[in-house]
């Protein structure tokens, strides 16, 4: 929609073609851009996987939204004279109330559900007293702007303050001392509730002294519902993402086909004291005594194993074969597993990431036959951008690398009840300071 609106403003009559599944989203985007009558035409879903003949059928068929011939809609969109609404667009404001009218707890819980402000689990109602206590968890002023979030790059970004983040932290069940971590995640600019059809989640990793100060647990069950801080910080990141970006509502601001359970909560601390490697944040350029949150975009695939045992090379090659080629992994290794790799000579994460990169391969044919690789990487390959261009030139049965070493992240957590590892789709996005939000 962004390009269509830009061309219209430049004086080029434009019609954007979408599949009918996205009709509500396309109209909402046009409205939020001040051009509610921006011309749109629709074909059936899907486009992916359809043959040339089937696509021609769409073009010669009926627009499933307008219920008129598709090409008639397209041609009219470019030639039908403008009316008054087309010539003016629509201007409006959407002021956010600070407080809601007083009501009973039961009614307010129901209101929060109806307005899709929850994750459908019970929330702690953000009373004035609770929010006032929560903002005591930071030295920042309640009305200070923290940042902006959007469900995806082409949607409008909404702004939010310390107080608004605190409201969502209360709802998630956080304690005031967790607020600096929640603020850092909110300030990262990375939504944990992407609207993508691909149902992404965001995994967050906490490093530094604050882990122990607020009682996060990197031991047994670190990735599960076994610690108050881990669980509620991860939940707060998701709740604030949906509420502060303007929603995460199916068909409107969320289009993930399958959804993702990691959108409830996915935050854990690194077991720095038991890791044989430098803390993750130190490798990203922070000091050991700084507190830092790192975010990883993905959460789609998950593979698991034990190790490293005798056949670890085969096991990890197989794991990479099962990974999605468009989404670099985040490995989370139990300290037993990490120490096992050190015994094999991988005394830094970087060395292990390099081995993974060199051995995580698949055939070029399979690599390029992926929807997101086609959509995101093929254009770069065609434009000559490396390493995509070289991969694109490979023969179909040639083995090509999935990821570069710097794209592969490794963190250490777990209770040492076994030498477990997990491999999540988790492309590293960034690491942000928590200390600046204390």
């Amino acid at each position: 929609m962004g390009l269509a609106l830009s061309l219209e403003r430049a004086g080029v009559p434009t019609v954007a073609v979408h599949t009918d599944t996205f009709a509500r989203l396309a109209r909402a985007t046009a409205l939020a851009s001040g051009m509610p009558t921006a011309r749109q035409a629709f074909v059936p879903q899907p486009i992916v996987g359809r043959t040339a003949a089937q696509l021609r059928g769409y073009i010669e068929g009926v627009d499933p939204v307008a219920k008129r011939p598709f090409m008639q809609e397209v041609l009219a969109a470019l030639t039908r004279p403008l009316d008054e609404k087309d010539a003016k667009g629509v201007s409006f404001e959407r002021p956010a109330a600070r407080l809601l009218p007083p009501d009973t707890e039961e009614n307010l819980q129901q209101l929060f559900i109806e307005r899709k402000w929850t994750d459908f689990l019970p929330v702690t109602l953000p009373t004035e007293e609770r929010v006032a206590r929560m903002v005591q968890g930071t030295s920042r002023k309640p009305d200070e702007v923290v940042g902006r979030l959007a469900p995806t790059a082409f949607r409008e970004a909404w702004e939010f303050t310390v107080e608004k983040v605190a409201v969502n932290a209360v709802m998630a069940g956080c304690r005031p001392e967790y607020l600096p971590v929640v603020l850092a995640l909110a300030a990262s600019g990375q939504t944990a509730r992407s609207s993508s059809t691909t149902s992404f989640a965001v995994l967050s990793l906490v490093n530094g002294p604050i882990r122990n100060e607020i009682g996060m647990d990197s031991g047994i069950g670190a990735l599960g519902p076994y610690n108050h801080a881990n669980a509620t910080i991860g939940r707060a990141y998701n709740l604030l993402s949906q509420n502060l970006q303007g929603g995460s509502v199916p068909g409107d601001t969320f289009m993930g086909s399958l959804g993702n359970w990691m959108n409830y909560s996915a935050c854990f601390p690194e077991a720095e004291e038991r890791s044989p490697w430098q803390p993750f944040h130190v490798e990203k350029g922070f000091g050991r005594h700084e507190s830092v949150a790192s975010v990883f975009f993905g959460g789609r695939y998950m593979l698991a194993g034990f190790g490293p045992r005798e056949t670890w090379r085969e096991e990890f090659r197989r794991a990479f074969a099962g990974a999605e080629q468009h989404l670099a992994p985040l490995f989370v290794m139990d300290p037993i597993c990490a120490r096992g790799f050190v015994e094999l000579g991988f005394d830094t994460r970087e060395k292990l990431a390099r081995w993974f990169s060199e051995n995580g391969q698949m055939s070029a044919r399979e690599y390029w036959d992926n929807q997101w690789v086609q959509t995101l990487l093929r254009p770069l390959a065609v434009a000559g951008v490396e390493p995509h261009a070289t991969k694109y030139k490979a023969n179909p049965e040639d083995k090509i690398r999935l990821f570069e070493p710097g794209e592969i992240s490794i963190a250490v957590a777990g209770g040492e009840t076994q030498g477990a590892w997990r491999m999540f789709g988790g492309r590293y996005v960034k690491s942000v300071s928590i200390d600046k939000w204390r």
Partner: protein, 96 residues
């Protein structure tokens, strides 16, 4: 009596929306350059090729041309400039 609570509203601040006008429409597409902008979504190229063929068969007086940005979902100022300077109309697809 049931206690009534005052609670905060949890949503962020939406930007102000300013109305924008559409570009004037064309009386006819005959003799005009219509750019078919391939948004690079998987298989959108195949759709655009079919659309180009449709124009060739049904409206040959329209000068339809396929054009592509450099990357998906990333503004390509060079391509946009070309459409703005050489195009009389544009059809974008397929996707958002």
């Amino acid at each position: 009596m049931t206690q009534r609570l005052v609670v905060h509203e949890p949503t962020g601040f939406a930007p102000k929306v300013t109305g924008k006008r559409l570009a004037p429409r064309l009386q006819s597409l005959d003799g005009k350059v219509v750019y078919l902008v391939d948004c690079l979504f998987d298989n959108s190229e195949a759709f655009m090729v079919q659309l180009l063929d449709w124009f060739g068969e049904h409206l040959p007086a329209v000068n339809a041309r396929i054009i592509k940005p450099r990357q998906s979902w990333v503004d390509d100022p060079q391509m946009r400039k070309q459409v703005e300077s050489e195009g009389h109309a544009a059809i974008l697809g397929v996707g958002l």
